[in-house]
Symmetry: C2
Subunit: 437 residues, 2 copies
Amino acid sequence: MIYLDHAAATPVIPKARQAMEDYFSEQFFNPSSPYLPAKHVRDNYEFAKNTIAHTIGAKGVDIIITAGATESINLAFTAVLSAVRKKTVVAWQNGINNAEKVLKMPNMTEILILSTEHASVRAVAQHYATEVGAKLIEVNVDKNGLIDLKDFQNKLSSRTVFVSVSLANNELGTIQPLAEIAEIIRKERERRLKDVLDARGSAGHIKDSARDVKNNAGNTRPLPLIFHSDASQALNLIDISVARLGVDLLTINSAKIGGPKGVGALYVSHEVELRPVIYGGGQELGLRSGTENVPGVIGFAAAAEEAKSHVMGNRKKYQKYVEILKSELLKCKLEPVFLGNPKHQLANFCPVSFPGIDAERIIYLLEEKQVYLSTGAACSANKGTVSRVLKAIKLTDAEISGSLRISLGMLNTEENVREAGKLIVEAVEKEILRCRK
Amino acid sequence: MIYLDHAAATPVIPKARQAMEDYFSEQFFNPSSPYLPAKHVRDNYEFAKNTIAHTIGAKGVDIIITAGATESINLAFTAVLSAVRKKTVVAWQNGINNAEKVLKMPNMTEILILSTEHASVRAVAQHYATEVGAKLIEVNVDKNGLIDLKDFQNKLSSRTVFVSVSLANNELGTIQPLAEIAEIIRKERERRLKDVLDARGSAGHIKDSARDVKNNAGNTRPLPLIFHSDASQALNLIDISVARLGVDLLTINSAKIGGPKGVGALYVSHEVELRPVIYGGGQELGLRSGTENVPGVIGFAAAAEEAKSHVMGNRKKYQKYVEILKSELLKCKLEPVFLGNPKHQLANFCPVSFPGIDAERIIYLLEEKQVYLSTGAACSANKGTVSRVLKAIKLTDAEISGSLRISLGMLNTEENVREAGKLIVEAVEKEILRCRK
């Protein structure tokens, strides 16, 4: 088997499995139980949370454990509810009594996401936008999938409450300049604060028209503006620090970095107010109820630590592998188009298109040779829908049709990558012949 | 170690661990990926879902996999949103234009839960009640923790949209007569349907006052009435069949029956409309997004199958163990009060009180002898709050103070149960001496 789809799933690494081992049948206690062995489990759980948090430059108390990236993203977007509730209070303070009306007034608030966000971010954003009557706006990317910062600046308005931009795209591997985005957001926040202070200063005059609420002037506090990033793909290839990135919320995931499935986390900065997605016994600071998945978190911690400590080595290794792969693919009679720009791309990604070819057929041909790769994100690949990401970077139909997502990882070696390259070329050329007949 | 707290957590049984083994690092593929080994994983996942569903007399398509009982309960309660939305539509059809107003009109709808429900059910019920402006009403229990059916019948009104009663209580082990409750609910549904048909029949007259909506007369369809049960504790001791129980929604849990933590399921009958708690890629029929926790579900299936096939044997075994334990406890100088009625109690439960004793001190004394048990539910035990369940069955303060929750299970033998009994008596008598000094 040659596995080229590490962006879809990774095996659990031996260190993570070993770490989990004890927690299934020996240290199985409920961490909330009152006796000593259960308290040990609680301690080890909290220690693991700290380990996970440290890999992104945070503390254990700053992260909420979830059942995976999708749940983390859902939890992140609940910030929209708090933001809008605050806005409602503000409107009420300004004399608009029917706060419900403000809450549901269309387009009073806006949510910005990148046009290439993962299906789950898109679905969650749509849900919360509908929930509060906000407008969901997409920010454009360039041909490499990189955010168009001018477009972002234009679309970021005084009504924006939430911005969500993935650290690295799940189909192209494009790494977004989060720190630059955060800086633009910081300036908008400053502007809002200044507006509020100015309004307060103007003879204590409290304005009361809907327009003023809309413009966020005369409010006692500015409309919140929250920055979330989905970093599911990146923990083993980018040295992540929440402070350096300037995010308020960061989603991380165990299953993409050699940890077990069914565990994720959300970093939450102190300024952000969330609402639970799952109510109940009050675990995870009341933000995520349910008995803690102790083995999962222990395994996640081991995988995260391993990922973090090999960031530099992984990067070098995969760069080399991608070079080998590309040199093989370039031998094809049909010239490949490499997608994205390696300067702003995860080192293990090699998305490529053989224009005009039917990529799904290539996948079936390679499947026979036990080479496994994907046409796009696993979820959309399965549904046979055309990748939004490839559309967003304005590929031609022929290019989209011939697109393969190749993501290298722990199951690859120089040899099997070279072999995969040869087999892909073989499959593409076989397919060209079939079409000519 | 003698473990007497199986209601808080159970070790993963060997069969479940073996079943999971392959799915961590070998069959690790994303079930949504397009190549053959991933499709095998998808098949095995669906097969496991079927296995789980069969243990409660349902099919794989009838259950939604979640990250545990708490999430399942949250998902179940989203039915309240759909029910109320329907009600809003109904109100609108009746000429009340401001549907929002109906939605938020206090006490237009009611949610009924048992006064002894688990903290998580209580918290979720409170959240959804607040969300739609419904009234949360508690149904009384008798001194054994058994539902007061007369009280239930009195409190079930034409405004009730949701009823949640646990199959077995997590502190007393009391088994509720779900089929009888379901029958009362069925009659109320029939009455509502008749009302609607009568109203339609009366010369096509469409009534339009708020009173009519309240009374649910003149509506084009009746207000939904949904019945949920949390069966987390019971799968290894009761032969569960959703049809026989008459529930619309049933929560089951892996971690309490020898399966891994972090997995649960919700049975959903075809008539019930839910809303996702977690939005995203659209897994689990769109009701629970996120990459499937394949090893977790495989392990859950193995544990559920094992639990189901030993229901009769378990019951006999634990009845015997409880008898042994009780005969030991009866040797205590301070007469124990056994809580609940064994006729309506999970066979592995032996909740007991030594009136006037400080149960927390008993737990610490026993901890030194490596005997582990709890004073109440693990979650509330940890917070030092007084058990609502013990209050609900009207124990005296002295009885509450001296209450121990003992739940037997797979880690027990005749010998260690007898030994535990002796050690508990020893601890209680030691504590009596200390108090007399």
